[in-house]
């Protein structure tokens, strides 16, 4: 059946058969016998003391089975939601880590903080009862912005976290940077805001929990990017359920972008409640509920300075950032603006000295955590913006200043002053490719044509690198990771030669079922159609850290590659026996085991058959069966990157920015499936464009209300915002991953915001505009034009 479809091919995605025919199986599609409905009651206040909760009216409401609060959780001695990273400040003092109760205790700290869980026979009954819950709040002033939160006299979220500072983190050689600044011919300065974002996966979060008294086992179906991690964090650290008594299933998941890579309180509450009510419970978030409970992303305020010599060479880079954590520490929270930010500030440049200080700050907002790119888009934005500022202040062409500072291809592996060592790359090659693809040569003609129509046209560059393939465990451990970051895969060859792969990553839109099948098809010579990829169920998959940080192919694919190697190695032993040859003389190619230099051979299917019907088999030295497992812990991060070029046109009358051209030439290492890589780039770029031009999560200072609390007020990028994109790869191979892959899931989101904003600033530079904060909304652009020194007219 079917053919080998291997590395470099673009077959249609296997998973789309079920998605496009409406046969996906999402959490909310699942029904369990006797299932009840759960609804969370959430705080309407940003900051308040929880005086008391009167359950009586809710409990008396029709169909109600249970009403649970933080007091009940405390009485059952349940743990706090754990943070997966423990960072330390410059003096080695651990971050402040206040408890994060799954249902609020004593105080609520953001609009959406969970106060109670109502279980009823139907969703409508649960909602009706939830409205009858009487919660007595003593409302306190909220603080939502980082600048406000660290000011003296600001509302304090926690008694033992002075000035709301969780950690005063730093990285780099402060003294070396200061020395370099003293010698600088020029210092470029930039203050910027990295806007707060809301992930908005198409499928809202949902969960079903069930307890089986006969076996004392729990099952949690949840919209998660990492079911094994949820099993560990929730079972071992929150609910005290032994790992073998807890099954976590993440079936089809409709998009994650990071939003679903955390252990959420909802998961713990519903699992705990399922045993208390002895019935399965389902909870499905509404979109509005997602806005006030899905972890948000970004939200930095930054001051940056770049020191240069008279030729435009970067001497030192200094960055001071205030990073918003929201009301509590989420699973990866403090890691994102620190370890995934500071080490990226070297970019693709040879800057010899870098210093970064990040104050991680609590505020009365939804906890902030990883969102596609996570820390790296923020770093790229600061660096690629200030490079443009420096170029314009020194009168050096923006491409030229980048060339003068870029790490040449020959200099790899390249050790940066901020921990990371890039193994491979060719930023200049990506830049050269992008300049041609974007037809930069003729930009002047296009700009003049726009000017004739009264429009301003601008071009923006972002030459960037990121670190993904999270992560080398030992390295991560030194930085504060509390878990491992390897991945695992099992390759099960069936007696008939078909293959089932059990892998610890989770596919929620990335096309793993296709890409991973291509790897197996190529490496084992079996038909693409004869390979299935299984993921997302702790009872079926051995173990896994899940999917985030562009790690699935890099780390999971490596484990898979290693496991297939083991299958081939065992197959050779079987073939040697059957072909009466020495093992060293057996070759495996294109699905055939043969004796070198002869025409004697056995097919992959024959070897599989022999392994499961071991009549003629070396049982004394070899076990029957053909199933191999591998764990892979990467030796380094991978460093994809490239050059993005955005071209925008601005209508000075309304301030509207239109993205008219977009070019990306990226180095993602080996490309397994070009179509899927292109799709990942498309999606990633659109998300980055969303941050640059449209998306903004806005809170009201004082009340802590989320003003952009729905799609009516939070602007997502739409298809008609985008031009056709020009996407190409210019790859160097990763030197330490088995297949040379680097990952491509986040590059689009990391490279694009700076390219777009640099283009906007370029379009307005003749008016003296030097910076525009994201999102560059029409109102914001119009305001800049109002304040600009020159009259509003096309040049």
């Amino acid at each position: 059946m079917g053919n080998v479809i291997g590395i470099g091919a673009s077959p249609k995605r296997k998973e789309d058969q079920r998605f496009l025919t409406g046969r996906g199986n999402y959490v909310s599609d699942i029904k369990r016998p006797g299932m009840t409905a759960g609804v969370f009651v959430r705080s309407p206040h940003g900051h308040a003391i929880l005086r008391s909760i009167d359950k009586s009216a809710a409990l008396a409401s029709p169909g109600v089975i249970a009403v649970l609060t933080g007091e009940d959780a405390a009485a059952d001695k349940l743990g706090s939601l754990p943070c997966g990273w423990g960072i330390t400040d410059a003096k080695g003092v651990p971050m402040k880590e206040p408890p994060f109760p799954m249902l609020a205790q004593g105080k609520v700290r953001f609009v959406g903080d969970m106060v109670a869980f109502v279980v009823a026979e139907t969703p409508a009954q649960a909602s009706a009862a939830a409205e009858l819950l009487t919660v007595d709040y003593e409302v306190l002033p909220s603080v939502v912005g980082v600048l406000e939160a660290v000011r003296p006299g600001a509302p304090q979220l926690f008694d033992d976290v002075p000035n709301n500072i969780c950690c005063d983190w730093e990285l780099g050689d402060k003294a070396a940077v200061e020395t370099a600044f003293r010698k600088a011919a020029h210092v470029a300065k930039l203050s910027l805001v990295n806007n707060r974002l809301i992930g908005n996966p198409m499928e809202p979060r949902a969960a079903i929990a069930e307890y089986e008294p006969g076996t004392d086992r729990f099952t949690l179906w949840t919209t998660s990017q990492f079911p094994h991690v949820v099993r560990f964090l929730m079972g071992a650290l929150v609910l005290n359920i032994p790992q073998h008594k807890l099954r976590v299933v993440a079936p089809d998941v409709g998009g994650g972008f990071g939003v679903k890579q955390f252990h959420y309180g909802e998961e713990a509450v519903i699992t705990w409640a399922a045993k208390r009510v002895m019935r399965p419970i389902k909870w499905v978030a509404s979109r509005s509920e997602g806005y006030v409970s899905d972890r948000h992303g970004r939200d930095h305020v930054t001051e940056a300075e770049l020191a240069l010599d008279e030729t435009g060479k970067f001497l030192a880079f200094r960055v001071n950032t205030l990073a918003n954590m929201g009301g509590y520490l989420s699973t990866f929270g403090p890691n994102i603006p620190t370890n995934l930010y500071g080490p990226l500030l070297g970019g693709v440049y040879t800057t010899p000295a870098i210093y970064c200080n990040v104050k991680v700050v609590f505020t009365n907002t939804v906890p902030v955590d990883a969102y596609r790119g996570a820390g790296r888009p923020e770093a790229t934005f600061v660096l690629e913006r200030i490079v443009d500022v420096a170029a314009s202040e020194m009168g050096i062409d923006r491409v030229e200043i980048r060339r003068r500072n870029m790490i040449p291809k020959e200099a790899y592996p390249y050790q940066t002053p901020v921990l990371v060592q890039y193994d491979s790359g060719d930023p200049m090659g990506c830049l050269d490719g992008a300049l041609v693809a974007a037809d930069v040569k003729n930009f002047g003609i296009r700009k003049a044509e726009s000017a004739r129509r009264g429009k301003f046209r601008g071009l923006g560059y972002s030459t960037y690198v990121e670190a993904c393939g999270l992560a080398p465990s030992r390295f991560a451990g030194r930085l504060g990771a509390r878990g491992g970051l390897y991945e695992s895969a099992t390759v099960r060859v069936h007696p008939t030669g078909q293959v089932t792969v059990m892998i610890g990553t989770h596919n929620h839109g990335q096309g793993h079922e296709t890409t991973f099948a291509q790897i197996v098809s190529e490496k084992l010579g079996v038909a693409f159609d004869n390979v299935d990829i299984v993921f997302g169920d702790t009872d079926r998959v051995q173990f896994g850290m899940g999917t985030y940080g562009s790690r699935s192919l890099v780390v999971g694919g490596a484990a898979l590659s290693k496991a297939t190697d083991k299958v081939v190695a065992k197959g050779k032993k079987i073939a040697a026996h059957l072909l009466e040859a020495a093992e060293v003389d057996i070759q495996f190619e294109a699905g055939k085991f043969s004796v070198a230099g002869t025409d004697r051979m056995k097919t992959f299917e024959e070897i599989a058959g022999a392994a499961y019907v071991p009549h003629d088999y070396p049982l004394e030295v070899l076990e029957p069966g053909l199933e191999e497992q591998a764990y892979y812990d990467p030796v380094n991060f991978t460093y994809p990157g490239g050059c993005h070029i955005a071209e925008v046109e601005i209508d000075p009358e309304t301030g509207t920015v239109t993205l008219v051209n977009y070019t990306a030439v990226d180095d993602v290492g080996t490309v397994i499936n070009p179509m899927i890589v292109e799709g990942q780039l498309h999606g990633g770029i659109v998300q980055g464009v969303g941050q640059a031009l449209y998306e903004n999560a806005v809170y009201d200072e004082g009340s802590g209300q989320l003003l952009s609390g729905s799609l009516m007020d939070y602007c997502m990028p739409r298809a008609d915002h985008m031009p056709m994109m020009k996407i190409a790869t210019h790859s160097t191979l990763c030197t330490h991953t088995p297949m040379g892959v680097k990952g491509c899931g986040e590059v689009g989101t990391i490279g694009s915001p700076a390219a777009v904003i640099n283009a906007v600033v370029d379009a307005l530079s003749h008016l003296g505009v030097t910076h525009v904060d994201m999102p560059a909304t029409p109102n914001r652009i119009w305001r800049l034009l109002q304040n600009a020194s020159l009259p509003v007219a096309a040049e």
Partner: protein
């Protein structure tokens, strides 16, 4: 959504009677505005009175001097209507800019006008054209119909049955879409009649309003340049996370110029 009774009357008087006899009951037209508020449990009427069986409320007729659009006519039908496109192309264009295809197929002109959302498009067309709101009991001139934020002259139990539009010499609509919702951040409808010009603005304030200085200027010269220097006062204009009042004021001028452009082209 909370439970409610559902009625589907065949005659206007029956609908009106249900509406007055069941306290807090609501008319249901396309449901594009009403159903989301029910789903979010922001409203919980005991009964809905569905107008969809009142077939004669749907459709567009022309008596030579006016065009009458039945209250239950969906936006998509107005947008595609040969008659409207020929006689008042600016109104067809307005309808084509509302929401997305699904909203245009379900949402109705009567529902939109009755709802009087401060950022809705139709109120600008109705006021700009000086249309007449025809109800189950009377006729109301547009100038007296819209009363600010979601408020209209409709009495309890009163049902809009049609909108009657006089035919302008020229008319145009320009809409600056709110980035997220794509309702009007500012929408301006301009209509030129033999006896003068009307300019109606939606989105900018708490309800649709006219701009007399622009009307006078355009009555003298129906050209964008005639109003380029007219800036409306920011008093009473909305300031929110999408746009500040002075930006909205600026957009009124820009959109008014573009509406005139659309009307003459």
């Amino acid at each position: 959504m909370k439970p409610f009774a559902y009625h589907q009357p065949d005659r206007i008087p029956d609908a009106a009677k249900l509406l007055t006899s069941i306290e807090d009951s609501k008319l249901l037209a396309g449901g594009m505005t009403l159903i989301p508020t029910l789903k979010q449990r922001l409203a919980s009427p005991p009964a809905l009175v569905d107008l969809s069986r009142l077939g004669h409320l749907k459709g567009i007729t022309d008596d030579g001097a006016t065009i009458t659009i039945g209250a239950m006519t969906p936006h998509a039908v107005v947008a595609a209507s040969k008659l409207v496109k020929a006689k008042i192309p600016g109104l067809a264009a307005l309808a084509s800019m509302i929401g997305d295809p699904a909203v245009r197929i379900r949402g109705t002109i009567g529902g939109s006008v009755a709802n009087n959302d401060p950022a809705a498009d139709y109120p600008a067309g109705v006021l700009g054209l000086g249309a007449t709101v025809v109800t189950s009991t009377r006729e109301i001139a547009a100038d007296g119909f819209f009363r600010g934020l979601f408020e209209t002259a409709l009495e309890p139990g009163e049902i809009i049955t049609a909108l009657r539009f006089p035919m302008p010499l020229k008319a145009g609509y320009a809409k600056f879409k709110a980035p997220a919702s794509r309702y009007a951040l500012v929408g301006v409808f301009v209509a030129k009649f033999a006896d003068g010009v009307r300019v109606a603005v939606t989105g900018a304030g708490s309800g649709v309003f006219r701009v007399p200085p622009m009307e006078e200027a355009l009555s003298r010269s129906f050209d964008p340049s005639a109003i380029a220097a007219i800036r409306i006062d920011t008093d009473g204009l909305t300031s929110d996370i999408h746009a500040e009042a002075d930006y909205r004021a600026h957009l009124v001028t820009v959109m008014a110029k573009r509406a005139v452009d659309a009307a003459v082209s």
